[in-house]
């Protein structure tokens, strides 16, 4: 494999958006293996890549592969997310949940105002997105330093998705309460018991997202 051939394969993969680590590495190996194994050694890399594209079902087929890969990771991570979340309500992790519940209850007694919880929830809901972004940035820098072609991982985006999907509406909700103060929202937020339960669930979910991201980052959890 010459440098020029390597570059052509990389460009092919980038052009077809197979530019995340898991996809890039698997398809790079596939193409190199098939190229080395080609029956007609006179065939150059460009015509070989055309054959590869055809076998992959053209641009449409490659898009399907990309979507299927993301969906597969999504399924694995949402299953793991549920496992991690419920583990906070089982021994020994339930101790953490009780500790959070106790702390929040005490806070409601010391600061009996919904404003504090609104801002607390805002801060908490931002944590997974911030940490997920940090992991993604760290990986990006590592790839640049090592001269890798890819800059991101499918697993990072799959682990970040639940945090984005579920904490974002909460974020919007709290913001709208703070800014516009609708009657229903105020009634709900003035109910301290409800606020406590909601805050505990939010903190537990945030911790779940953080654990999921840590696992994705340290590669403990991979579909690989």
């Amino acid at each position: 494999m010459t440098g020029k051939e390597h570059k052509s394969i990389c460009a092919f993969l980038i052009d077809h958006r197979l530019n995340q680590q898991e996809l890039f590495e698997e398809f790079y190996d596939h193409i190199v293996s098939s190229y080395e194994d080609r029956p007609d050694k006179a065939e150059n890399i460009h015509s070989h890549l055309e054959t590869v594209l055809k076998d992959l079902g053209g641009k449409k087929g490659m898009r399907k592969i990309l979507i299927a890969r993301h969906q597969a990771y999504g399924r694995v991570y949402s299953k793991r997310l549920k496992e991690l979340f419920w583990s906070f309500f089982r021994w020994p992790m339930a101790l953490y949940s009780l500790l959070i519940l106790g702390t929040i209850y005490l806070l409601t007694l010391i600061f009996p105002t919904q404003q504090l919880f609104t801002w607390l929830m805002l801060l908490i809901s931002l944590a997974p997105i911030t940490i997920g972004g940090f992991f993604a940035l760290k990986f990006n820098r590592k790839c640049r330093k090592e001269g890798k072609i890819y800059r991101s991982r499918v697993s990072h985006s799959a682990a970040l998705k639940p945090a984005l999907l579920l904490t974002f509406p909460i974020h919007i909700w709290n913001l709208s309460v703070t800014m516009f103060g609708s009657d229903v929202a105020l009634t709900l937020n003035q109910n301290m018991a409800l606020t406590t339960v909601f805050t505990v669930l939010l903190i537990t979910f945030t911790l779940t997202c953080l654990r999921l991201m840590t696992e994705a980052n340290t590669e403990k959890l991979t579909t690989s």
């Binding site: 590495e25 698997e26 190199v32 098939s34 194994d37 992959l56 079902g57 592969i65 890969r69 399924r75």
Partner: protein
Amino acid sequence: MSSSKLLKGSLATIVMRLLEEQEKMYGYEITQKVKELTAGEFKITEGALYPTLHKLEAEGFLTTETQKVDNRVRKYYSLTREGNAEAKSKVAELEAFLVQLQKVLNPKPSLG
């Protein structure tokens, strides 16, 4: 109809059966093994193979490990314990289906 279209529905079973035999294989190796076993009659397209592998992996039937080969990363697939049980059941299901299909394609003349 091309053999590829007929193969599509049985692809997961074929992949799992091969992994039952070989313990661990990588994507390209699977396509070549099928080609070799069928003397080139069956050709698994990569466009169908990888989504199948990724789906089986997400369902917990396959596990993967990576190895560095010739300065590149190679991803090997192998069956999990659940995958082994699923492979046996899928192969049995396909065999039973083929028996029934054979009856439909070659009906024996009735004696009565």
